[in-house]
Amino acid sequence: MNKKIIFASIFVIGMLAMAMGIGTYSYFTSTKSSTGNIFTSGTLNLQLSNDNVNWYDGVTTTWASPSGWAPGDEVTSSIYLRNTGSIAAEAVYAYWNNLVDPDGLSNVINVTWLSDSTWIGENSIGPFITAYDANHDGNLTLAELVYGLSHWNGPKTPDPNQARFYADYNETYEHPVLTANAGNIFEIKMKYKFMETAGNEYQGKSASFDLTLAAWQHHYVP
């Protein structure tokens, strides 16, 4: 009986000792924190204006031909861009789309001029004609500009029918096309000419299209 008690006691105490031993297997730890660290991501916020005075955020600006626009008349329109975000944009990509033209008016409107703030005073329409002139007549109609697919821009724009705007002549993207905090205004100027050969069937007609612009923090890389 006594031996049983002894063995039982030894067993119980042994288990207790094991538990204590396991207890000593844990680590001492100490934790300290570096608090109040702030991480903030930048923004790009493209704003548009018709007149370089009134700016719109995320809404459509409107170019309108003058009233009484007649064959042979040419209208000049500018759209202004700025970036009110906190980081600069290397490039702006644009495409003409959403043509609403039930009477075919866009077939008798030639786009004769395109320039921007990088190429001040220089008409860049030549490459656009090369890229978009579907019937190869040497003229670029508004319809061709909207519906055309440019193979000229293809490798350098996110979508092949887009045009690209950047800030340096050599397209090195060393300088942003739109600096942060509205630091610069970028102008895109276009001229539209009502063809002199347009007939009376175009009297009182109208057409509309959209020019969609996207500012990119980093230029597109295929």
């Binding site: 297997y25 680590y27 924190s33």
Partner: protein, 180 residues
């Protein structure tokens, strides 16, 4: 007499087992003597004791933005050595931003030419659950280890990460014994 034998046997077994378990867990005899010597202080400090990351100084994160690199000293202000064993980050605010940020934590070498030891390299958000790491070496009493923390946004991050702000607390845990 029998009771005395029982008590003596039990105490002997308990003492032996405890010592066996205790010693098996120790990296060296010298470390063990610290415990045997009495009350010890086990403590650490981080320096600088101010926020490391601040947009006013670092600028904003954007896809492909340069790495923002900071240094953090882990100082042993206790009596026994320890080793860095865990990082955990708590987030407040636009916590989604943490999924778009990468963080690399290096433990820098002490000597000239000693290579840094990568403790963590991954998304900042993954640190939210805590990550066990193995520090480069034991940090003795009165010494420190230098952590280099780099944060950046990957080039593939999309526009959904624009304009987000979050605050983060970066917790560093050390353990004794310093053996891995």
């Amino acid at each position: 007499m029998k009771h005395k034998q029982i008590v003596t046997s039990a105490l002997t077994i308990m003492l032996v087992l405890s010592l066996v378990m205790f010693m098996a867990n120790q990296p060296s005899a010298s470390a063990s003597t610290v415990f045997l010597g009495g009350k010890v202080k086990f403590d650490m400090e981080l320096s600088p004791n101010v926020p490391l990351f601040c947009p006013d100084v670092d600028g904003y994160f954007y896809p492909g933005s340069p790495r923002v690199t900071k240094k953090l000293e882990v100082i042993n202000v206790g009596d026994i050595p320890f080793r860095i064993c865990r990082f955990e980050v708590t987030f407040h605010g636009d916590t989604y931003l943490a999924t778009g940020l990468q963080m690399e934590i290096l433990e820098l070498g002490k000597g000239k030419g000693e290579k840094p030891h990568v403790l963590y390299n991954g998304t900042l958000s993954s640190l939210g659950e805590g990550v066990e790491v193995s520090g480069k070496s034991a940090i003795p009493q009165g010494k420190s280890a230098t952590l280099q923390l780099a944060v950046w946004m990957t080039e593939t991050a999309g526009s959904e990460y624009q304009g987000l702000t979050m605050t983060a607390g970066i917790a560093v845990t050390v353990h004794f014994p310093p053996a891995t």
